[in-house]
Amino acid sequence: MGERKVTVAAEVGLHARPAATFVQRAMKAPMDITVAKMHSAKPPVSGKSILAIMALDVRQGETVVISAEGEGSEDVLDELAEIAGTP
């Protein structure tokens, strides 16, 4: 399983526009995608669920782990990592 560790750079954290952009990209991918917050007791959530991602409450400067598996997952992960790391 591939994964990327990204520190969220946007001022609003992984909420609002960054979350929406992230989810829109994730929804286009055929495979399951999960997002987990580092140093958090919260279990990983689906990268295609904006509500679950908002509930993770990832703030600016916090690190998330994005995971996916299957054909094309490396490219999807690269794109998602870029979105999450964009200020």
Binding site: H15, A20, V45, S49, I50, L51, M54, A55, E62
Partner: protein
């Protein structure tokens, strides 16, 4: 009828009330359906898809920031986790509207529990939920359409992005909402559009549609069916005010050029933009409670850091004064347990709590030390020993500039002793008044004692400011009283070196200071202190501040 809320976008608006209230009823608990589960699920999915489509279409027409907000709401409506949950609730026998209601409730609880910015997003979620339920029940959601004969005052429980996306600035005189806070959608939008706004105004939705409403986005005052003369007076005063404020630009100073940096009181990163936009030269009180509320564990250094860095970055070269955690029995935190107290205001609050939980203080100071060029102050300091203890803690963690708040009378009376260890002091007039007059801030019955013009309070400010001047150190004011333009002049006359207030009050205070010399401020301060009552003090001071009338304040 007069109502009062919180002014979050300054200025003054007047017009007929357009009451935007739809109440979508909560679908009855345990409601079931007749027919096939598959059909009921289909019905729910159609409603969800329809609402998502509407939100997206409205966003598309609106463009800009509204489009982004509405796109996010559309994604929430079609969230795969939500849809799965709605389906499984219908499988368990719940009717589609109730299933939708309960499916949203789970997410809502998580958001609302987080407080702050995220908590206020719960309102976005409620809006989506109500739209879906309305679609299922066949209730039409109101919108704003057509050009009104004159600009209206938009009144609502709370405004949702979908309500306001297609709003035309010229059609709106003001916003008044019953709920919401300084970072609610209504407040953010109002400031972005420059529409005067009052939020958290109890009774607002009881205003009769079409009734004339006068809303003051600075003071938070809302008058329903005001007298013609009041409206005329407010309109002309507002015009005068605007002209005067427009003339007074740049850094705060008196007419003769004595600089008085004007700073903003800020409750979190979301309010920084508004402070910059209002012309604040820095932050005089950066509250940090938002980082600590609604959690089971205190935030770590890394988690706190971005919030402090944002403040430092917002005001390069300006002062940014951060107040360390001000928690206590009335703002109890799970990870700072204290025994129950009969008088929380007199209990283990502010810095007193840090003595019991030094590890929480150390983490906060560590984050502040690396965040940039920040000044750090502790709340609720009563004695020179406490001040020295806090300064030592700051120094040992690498915080360069350490100060204390003066909000307990003992600290004002012996300000000179405190100033021998600290780098600066800042007077919190709200709590200082509460403790000086033994009058609870929250209690309406004793509010007359909370008048910032009480000469005894002015004496304590004078004592503190004089001690600071003798020590060659800064003495700021960060209580509500600095937001009153006449009082602001008096505070400067008493020796305050900076004034900090809600961002909305800055233009009026800047104009009042620019219109008077330092000598006039000093004479006004002396006259106020010579008075016996608060009313006399106010009148006596104004006699030395002739330009206030011209400014319409």
């Amino acid at each position: 009828m007069n109502l009062r809320g919180v002014g979050v976008s300054p200025g003054f608006g007047h017009g007929p009330a357009y009451v935007l209230s739809v109440s979508v009823p909560e679908p009855p608990e345990g409601a079931t359906y007749t027919g096939e589960a598959e059909q009921e699920k289909e019905r729910a999915v159609v409603a969800l898809t329809q609402v998502a489509g509407e939100l997206e279409a409205r966003g598309h027409r609106a463009g800009g920031e509204a489009e982004e907000i509405l796109k996010a709401q559309a994604l929430m409506t079609e969230d795969p986790g939500l849809v799965v949950r709605v389906r499984s609730l219908i499988d368990r026998g719940l009717a589609a509207p109730r299933a939708v209601y309960e499916a949203f409730a789970r997410y809502r609880e998580v958001l609302a529990g987080s407080g702050g910015y995220l908590g206020e997003r719960a309102a976005d979620l409620d809006d989506v939920r109500d739209r879906v339920i309305a679609a299922l029940y066949g209730i039409a959601m109101p919108g704003l359409h057509g050009a009104p004969a004159e600009p209206y005052v938009l009144v609502a429980r709370d405004l949702a992005p979908a309500d306001t996306a297609l709003l035309v600035r010229e059609h709106v005189a003001a916003f008044v909402t019953e709920e919401g806070g300084p970072t609610s959608h209504t407040a953010i939008l109002a400031r972005a559009l420059g529409v005067p706004a009052v939020v958290a105004c109890p009774g607002a939705t009881g205003i009769t549609p079409g009734a004339r409403v006068l809303a003051d986005g600075t003071s938070g005052e809302v008058r329903v069916e005001p007298a013609e003369s009041d409206v005329a007076e407010a309109v002309s005063a507002d015009a005068v005010r605007r002209a005067a404020y427009a003339q007074a630009e740049g850094p705060g100073r008196t007419a003769d050029g004595h600089p008085v940096p004007l700073l903003a009181n800020v409750g979190g990163p979301a309010e920084l933009d508004a402070a910059v936009a209002a012309g604040a030269e820095g932050v005089g009180l950066y509250r940090t409670e938002f980082l600590f509320l609604n959690r089971t564990e205190p935030p770590g250094v890394e988690e706190q850091l971005p919030a402090y860095q944002q403040a430092a970055r917002a005001f390069p070269g300006g002062k940014v004064i951060v107040r360390t955690l001000d928690a206590g029995a009335d703002k109890a935190l799970a990870f700072l347990p204290v025994p129950s107290e009969p008088n929380p205001a007199l209990g283990e609050r502010g810095v007193r709590l840090f003595r019991r939980f030094p590890e929480v203080m150390e983490a906060q100071l560590d984050a502040l030390a690396v965040a940039g060029d920040l000044m750090v102050m502790a709340p609720m300091v009563a004695t020179a020993e406490e001040a020295e203890w806090f300064v030592r803690a700051c120094r040992s963690r690498g915080v360069a500039q350490a100060g204390v708040m003066v909000e307990v009378p003992s600290a004002a009376l012996r300000a000179g002793d405190l100033l021998s260890s600290v780098d600066f002091v800042s007077i919190g007039t709200n709590d200082l008044s509460q403790y000086t007059f033994a009058a609870d801030r929250q209690l309406g019955a004793v509010s007359a004692l909370q008048d910032p013009w009480q000469p005894a309070l002015l004496d304590l400010v004078a004592l503190t400011a004089t001690a600071a001047r003798e020590a060659g150190k800064a003495c700021g004011i960060c209580g509500e009283s600095a937001a009153d333009p006449a009082m602001a002049c008096v505070l400067v006359g008493l020796g305050a070196t900076t004034l900090s207030m809600g961002a909305g009050a800055l233009p009026a205070v800047r104009a009042a200071l620019a219109a008077h010399t330092l000598d006039e401020c000093r004479l006004a301060a002396d006259a106020a202190r010579d008075a016996v009552t608060a009313a006399e003090a106010r009148a006596a001071a104004r006699a030395y501040l002739p330009a206030l009338g011209r400014l319409g304040v």
